[in-house]
């Protein structure tokens, strides 16, 4: 017996907040605006907690139907929500982290203009994200999918007077569209071949199919297209380019949308549609490869970045790569697990970074920081926790999830594992680089008088309590978040991730799924692998310590010795320029030449203009009927009526 938990409230509460703030917020005081935003977001969080409290009483999956939406023949998509362990986890992460970041942003944005606008966007994002998470069919999910895209666009371009911000917003939007295109096609294929988008129905109809081990087929195509969508949303190769630019947005936004929640939607989607991927090994492999490559690639770029937020952005990309790697090896639970922990520590990292930026008065270049350890102890300690977590040191959260991923990868192929470990090393290296550069040594930047305060170093100040509280909470989470243990987490998710994947599931996933039981036999091998991973992390820590604490001149020498490669890395492998020349410019030219000048101007406009001219010429000849004499008009009418009557009589009596 399941109690009726009104899921619809959870998304609608933030929407209400968004509406109130967006429509009337201009008149409200900042206090009112923030209390409204926090109130509704907190209410959603409370609802989520309540749902969790009901958890034992629930019989998952629990689904809730509200209203019909689209009904065309057999196809049918409704406003209906669907709650299972997976969406429960996502629900908690989104609402929880979202709520914390809301609190944080109150402090962070207090000085900014457009306060109400910011919070209504933030609430709007919460609404769409929750819709995405709770949807019970791909179409509703897609609505949320597009919605978060919109919200992210709005928030990246929040400072719409800054050209770079606007451009970044557009870039994010467009790149996401490319991904969504793939997603959409996947949906169309699903509709065509399985006649539904409802998760349950689709998976039920797919379950009996054989895995396409030999040759690619329909499922592979769908899987790949879904992966394209996921790549767009979750910033994977080749569509990752928008995420670094997205750092133009306010830092809380980067934390919430571009680290904790939205970018993980792709992972969620892949895990959600695992039933399809399980039967498409090739697609699965592609996912794994993309994930692995992205992880490595982004990590290497991250090493050379100097902008604190850019570093975090690239690390986000590479962490997402990890998650996809996990999904690719059919260890979805591991991926989701990492998603959760990552939400904690990456959110924390961004918030802390924001706090740092706040402290040094808007400066984002790490080379101009340093020695902040004593100035902003709270930030420092929380950030430390996060750094260790992401670097994957025991017993921090990151360790468990990342270790799980690596181990699962190793069971498929040691290539993945190797790259993963190397990436782990890189991760730990650039994270500690950031850490050292920011907090150790002595302050290098000239204290600038921004909203930091005074003209000299004394201006560097700790952030207000309102911002520190979330930091602390998240720090605690990123320390303890992993103690759940991947095993228990996997057990928890098993009903979802095994649903529909029966005996006919490809060996890859059987291993992954069976792993929960087989662990004891492989303890030895696992401990070995774990040791190696930890070693890699430690090595990264040592190198960073060496280069950025003990002998600060070392990095330049190395850079010099690396030469071209280093430049390439610094310039992000020139990917943006490549895209610009490969896609953007031809597209622009084509649309200018053909679409605009060719079609729009010479065909459409021409048609309209000529039509107008023709109309004018005709009416010039007819206008003399308009004599202005009422009775002549009446005469015409009478004549016409007579004609009609005659015609009808003729028709009737014929």
């Amino acid at each position: 017996m399941t109690p009726n938990l009104h899921l619809w409230l959870i998304p609608l509460l933030p929407l209400a907040g968004a509406a109130i703030n967006g429509l009337f917020g201009r008149r409200f005081s900042r206090r009112a605006v923030s209390s409204i935003a926090l109130g509704f977001c907190g209410a959603a969080f409370a609802m989520a907690l309540w749902v969790v409290a009901q958890f034992s009483a629930l019989s998952l999956p629990y689904s809730e139907y509200f209203a019909p939406w689209i009904r065309a023949g057999s196809f049918q998509a409704d406003f209906a929500f669907y709650l299972d362990q997976l969406s429960l986890v996502m629900l908690l992460v989104v609402t929880g982290v979202g709520f914390l970041i809301h609190i944080y942003s109150v402090g962070y944005m207090w000085e900014e203009g457009g306060f109400y606008r910011f919070f209504s966007y933030l609430n709007l994002f919460m609404f769409f994200m929750l819709t995405l998470v709770l949807a019970n069919n791909y179409l509703l999910m897609f609505i949320g999918w597009e919605g978060v895209g919109l919200a992210s666009y709005l928030l990246i371009g929040f400072w719409f007077t800054k050209d770079s911000a606007v451009a970044a917003g557009k870039k994010a939007f467009i790149v996401n569209r490319i991904g969504d295109f793939g997603f959409l096609i996947a949906l169309f294929l699903l509709i065509k071949h399985f006649g539904s988008l409802n998760f349950v129905q689709v998976f039920h109809r797919i379950a009996p199919l054989r895995p396409e081990t030999t040759g690619a087929g329909l499922l592979t195509a769908i899987g790949l297209l879904l992966m394209v969508g996921a790549a767009g949303k979750s910033a994977q190769i080749p569509l990752y380019v928008w995420l670094p630019d997205a750092m133009e947005g306010p830092t809380p936004v980067s934390a919430l949308i571009h680290a904790a929640t939205m970018v993980t939607a792709g992972v969620y989607m892949v895990a959600r549609s695992h039933v399809i991927l399980d039967r498409a090994p090739m697609a699965l492999m592609v996912v794994a490869i993309i994930g692995t490559l992205t992880a490595l690639f982004a990590a290497t770029i991250g090493v050379a970045q100097t902008d604190i937020k850019k570093v975090l952005a690239y690390s986000t990309i590479s962490q997402l790569g990890y998650m996809f790697m996990a999904c690719g090896v059919a260890a979805y639970s591991a991926g989701i697990f990492h998603l959760m922990t990552h939400a904690f520590f990456k959110g924390l990292l961004f918030l802390a970074a924001g706090s740092v930026i706040h402290a040094v008065g808007g400066e984002q270049d790490m080379r101009k920081m340093g020695g902040l350890r004593t100035k902003i102890p709270w930030t420092f300690w929380t950030m430390t926790a996060a750094t260790f977590a992401i670097a994957g040191f025991w017993p921090f959260a990151g360790f468990f999830s990342k270790d799980e991923i690596l181990w699962q990868a190793s069971r498929v192929s040691f290539v993945y594992w190797g790259i993963g470990v190397f990436t782990a090393f890189l991760t730990s290296f650039y994270m500690f680089r950031l850490w050292f550069l920011t907090f150790f040594g002595e302050y290098r930047g000239e204290a600038k008088a921004a909203h930091g305060g005074g003209e000299h170093q004394a201006g560097i100040h700790e952030s207000p309590k309102l911002m520190l509280a979330p930091l602390v909470i998240l720090a605690v989470l990123s320390v303890c978040g992993g103690w759940v243990g991947s095993v228990r987490f996997e057990r928890f998710l098993t009903p979802v991730l095994q649903a529909g994947s029966g005996a006919s599931v490809s060996n890859v996933s059987t291993n992954a799924l069976a792993s929960a039981n087989e662990r004891k036999d492989e303890v030895s091998s696992e401990t070995l692998l774990t040791a190696v991973a930890l070693g890699a992390a430690a090595l990264g820590l040592y190198l960073a310590f060496l280069m950025y604490y003990q002998r600060p001149q070392l990095p330049d020498q190395i850079a010099a010795s690396l030469g071209g490669f280093y430049d390439a890395v610094v310039h992000k492998y020139y990917v943006d320029d490549l895209y610009a020349t490969l896609f953007v410019k031809p597209l622009l030219d084509a649309s200018t030449r053909i679409l605009w000048q060719g079609i729009d101007r010479d065909v459409i406009d021409a048609a309209v203009d000529n039509g107008a001219d023709g109309a004018r010429e005709i009416s010039d000849s007819v206008r003399h009927m308009q004599s202005g004499n009422l009775r002549s008009y009446a005469g015409w009418i009478a004549a016409g009526a007579a004609g009609v009557i005659a015609y009808m009589v003729w028709m009737g009596t014929r």
Binding site: R623, H624, Q626, S627, G628, N629, L630, R631, A634, G635, A638
Partner: protein, 100 residues
């Protein structure tokens, strides 16, 4: 026992008279009157058809026609007054500025 077609023809004649009035009269008020005449013809056919099909709705329509006629008369006469105020004539042939 009168054939219903007689009633209908009567209404037709009234309507025709209305149309003719509209066509040949100059005085805008008279034109208005002929419109009312047409409406009356229509009403008669409504009632006649109601008798034909034994459906009272035919008679109900007459009320709506009357209401419309009342509204039309109110507004129309107001317009006529306004026109007379500005043009000092009721002759529609003299109220012919609306042309090219």
């Amino acid at each position: 026992m009168v054939p219903l077609s007689y009633y209908l023809i009567l209404s037709g004649i009234l309507f025709a008279c209305g149309v003719t009035g509209f066509l040949i009269k100059r005085n805008i008020i008279t034109i208005f009157l002929s419109i009312e005449l047409m409406l009356n013809g229509a009403n008669l056919s409504f009632v006649a058809f109601a008798a034909q099909w034994h459906a009272l709705s035919g008679q109900v329509f007459v009320f709506f026609v009357m209401v419309v006629a009342a509204a039309e008369a109110a507004v129309g006469l107001a317009i006529i007054i306004a026109v007379f105020r500005t043009r000092e004539t009721l002759n529609v042939d003299r109220v012919n500025l609306l042309k090219l």
